[in-house]
């Protein structure tokens, strides 16, 4: 029994990270109908920014873990928010009107630029880097189940963050503007919404969430790697699509769904665990055939 609890806990941590990444994808898609494929690498850049700030602060003699953690999170968030907004400003907005495919490719290439830059220019960036444990690491062992306090804190923080984002989008004026732009850009403009500003803010918001996912990844695995964003990006994208693009709850659902698939693929299936990604992506393909617009579908209708 306790071993199942362990699997659920492992899966929940993964699902939370995927969900945070997926929410970004879905926000971007909402306002601009584009996929920002550098998102995963923006996340990696955030994690490395966090690490650099941590190194700097400890060198300056800051020792309090709480203060360090707060500053590290703030730094990573600001860095990725700026980076995300810059991607929108200089790569995505200029291509407005060009085919969707172009945006996809430009952002993919931007992802390569970010990834290679970390590898080449961050000191020692071609090898994994130790990420400090800034949270209490004590744990409670319940049979096979090893419940770690830091994991619980991370899960709780992730939940608060996602709930906050959801409140921001549904309850505030900024959220109203974001939803207005997402629904109909032209009408939103005529109603006095500053379109560019909303787009940039949305990209900053989504990327800041990725920063948190990056720091969470670092704290959870105690290690970050220049290529970490690649797979997280693809999985986050898959999660957003499974859920249904443009839908916040769909993205969250998709994130946890994908984590569940991977965990099931690794433990509950009769074949070797190396096939778990074959299984997870196979289910994704089958799911797309059954529900071509995602679990919580986009509300579009085309009648002939």
């Amino acid at each position: 029994m306790s071993i199942i609890a362990q699997y659920v806990m492992n899966g929940a941590m993964l699902g939370m990270m995927y969900a945070l990444v997926a929410v970004g994808f879905t926000l971007f898609f909402g306002v601009l109908d584009v996929i920002q494929f550098a998102h995963g690498d923006v996340l990696a850049a955030g994690a490395f920014a966090a690490l650099a700030v941590w190194l700097g602060l400890t060198r300056l003699g800051v020792a309090s873990p709480a203060l360090l953690l707060a500053l590290v999170v703030v730094a990573a968030t600001v860095a990725t928010a700026l980076l995300g907004a810059a991607v929108a400003r200089f790569l995505v907005l200029p291509l407005k009107g060009a085919p969707q495919l172009n945006v996809l490719l430009v952002t993919l290439m931007m992802g390569t630029v970010l990834r290679e830059s970390i590898r080449l220019f961050y000191p020692g960036g071609s090898q994994p880097q130790l990420f400090p444990a800034l949270l209490p690491t004590s744990s409670v062992a319940l049979g096979e189940f090893n419940l770690r306090i830091d994991n619980v804190i991370l899960l709780a923080a992730g939940t608060v963050l996602i709930a906050g984002t959801s409140l921001l989008v549904t309850r505030t004026r900024l959220g109203l503007a974001i939803r207005a732009v997402a629904q109909d850009e032209e009408t939103a403009r005529t109603m006095g919404v500053d379109f560019r500003r909303i787009v940039l803010l949305t990209f900053a918001l989504g990327s800041a969430l990725a920063a948190f996912a990056g720091v969470m990844d670092g704290l959870y695995y105690n290690e970050i790697f220049f290529g970490m964003g690649l797979l997280l990006g693809v999985i986050g994208f898959a999660a957003a699509i499974i859920g249904g693009l443009g839908n916040l709850y769909g993205a969250i659902l998709g994130g946890f769904f994908f984590a569940a698939l991977q965990t099931i693929g690794a433990v509950a299936l009769p074949f070797a665990s190396a096939y778990k990604d074959v299984f997870a992506f196979g289910v994704v393909i089958a799911l797309m055939a059954l529900r071509p617009k995602g679990l919580i579908g986009e509300r579009t209708s085309e009648r002939v």
Binding site: N102, V106, M109, T112, L245
Partner: protein
């Protein structure tokens, strides 16, 4: 037509001039093979508007088919090349339903998931050589042994010259076929579908049927190119068919100008030769390459040679 013959003749002349330079000929062969594969992708992306981010996977299906058949059967190699294409087309049928039912980014995800799935499958499956890959025997068509250098009297040429002739022939056939397809009623139907599926359907165009045709034809060409490539390299392994390689195919298509076979040919040459020229900067070259692609797409969003408007005469 005349342009095409001229281009083919030019390629032949250049390769004859470089006949002793193995490396140059190898690069040229690779360019021709990639052109063939991208022609297939062009039918899917450029004409029918069916996205395919698993180009390298279908390329790999062709390659693996060639490797397995050439190693363990006596099927003549020319047929093996064709079977490689057919196998890729067949593998594509797995995706037909999800690809037909989904649009845009959703369809992109289907093919991306397929690419990642197949990559892992190649690697984990020991029957296909696993991560170590498989070695291919020498390509033989009739009396011609492709891996022997050519020596006739005082005329000496690298064995790659034979591969150039073969890949040029296949690329030219593919090229002619794709141009012909574009000009036929199928091409018109595909254009309609890409531009507005609903309108196309209301005009009586069978959307599902032509999308399947385009997807399958495209995969056939990609698989054919993959089989030829496997013979030329003489060795295949999963690392050759990663998602990154698929992205390179897509970049070629967009850089060249979607829907224009001439554009993708030019882009194939640029994309394959540029990183090679960048060898001097070793570890920095992918960074620079990605930056160059971004700049081209920003300043020439329609690609180097955009597709000309269709003239209905």
């Amino acid at each position: 037509m005349r342009k095409g013959l001229l281009a083919a003749a030019a390629v032949l002349a250049v390769s004859l001039a470089l006949r002793e330079d193995d490396f140059a000929l190898l690069l040229l062969t690779r360019v021709l093979i990639v052109i063939l594969a991208c022609l297939g992708l062009n039918v899917q992306f450029g004409y029918a508007g069916v996205v395919n981010f698993a180009g390298a996977t279908f390329f790999g299906v062709g390659g693996y088919t060639a490797a397995v058949l050439a190693r363990s059967t006596a099927v003549p190699h020319l047929f093996i090349l064709l079977i490689g294409g057919a196998a890729a087309a067949l593998a594509g049928t797995i995706l037909v339903v999800p690809v037909l039912r989904t649009r845009g980014h959703y369809a992109a995800l289907v093919t991306i998931a397929f690419a990642l799935l197949f990559r892992t499958f190649f690697e984990v499956n020991d029957a296909l050589g696993g991560p170590q890959g498989l070695k291919l025997p020498e390509l033989r068509i009739g009396p011609v042994h492709f891996n022997d250098a050519i020596e006739i009297g005082s005329f000496f040429a690298s064995f790659y010259l034979k591969y150039i002739v073969l890949s040029l022939l296949l690329a030219a056939l593919g090229f002619a076929f794709v141009l012909r397809l574009e000009r036929s009623f199928i091409g018109v139907a595909l254009d309609c579908i890409r531009l507005d599926e609903i309108a196309a359907a209301s005009f009586g165009v069978d959307v599902a049927r032509w999308k399947i045709v385009a997807f399958t034809l495209g995969n056939f060409l990609i698989g054919l190119a993959g089989a030829l490539s496997a013979f030329m390299v003489g060795f295949i392994a999963p690392d050759n068919y990663s998602f990154g390689e698929s992205l390179i195919f897509v970049s070629i298509l967009l850089l060249g100008g979607l829907g224009n076979p001439w554009g993708l040919s030019l882009a194939s040459a640029v994309v394959l030769l540029l990183p090679e020229k960048l060898q001097v900067i070793a570890e920095y070259r992918f960074l620079l390459f990605a930056a160059v692609v971004i700049l081209i797409l920003l300043f020439r969003p329609a690609g180097l040679l955009p597709r000309p408007l269709r003239r209905l005469t």
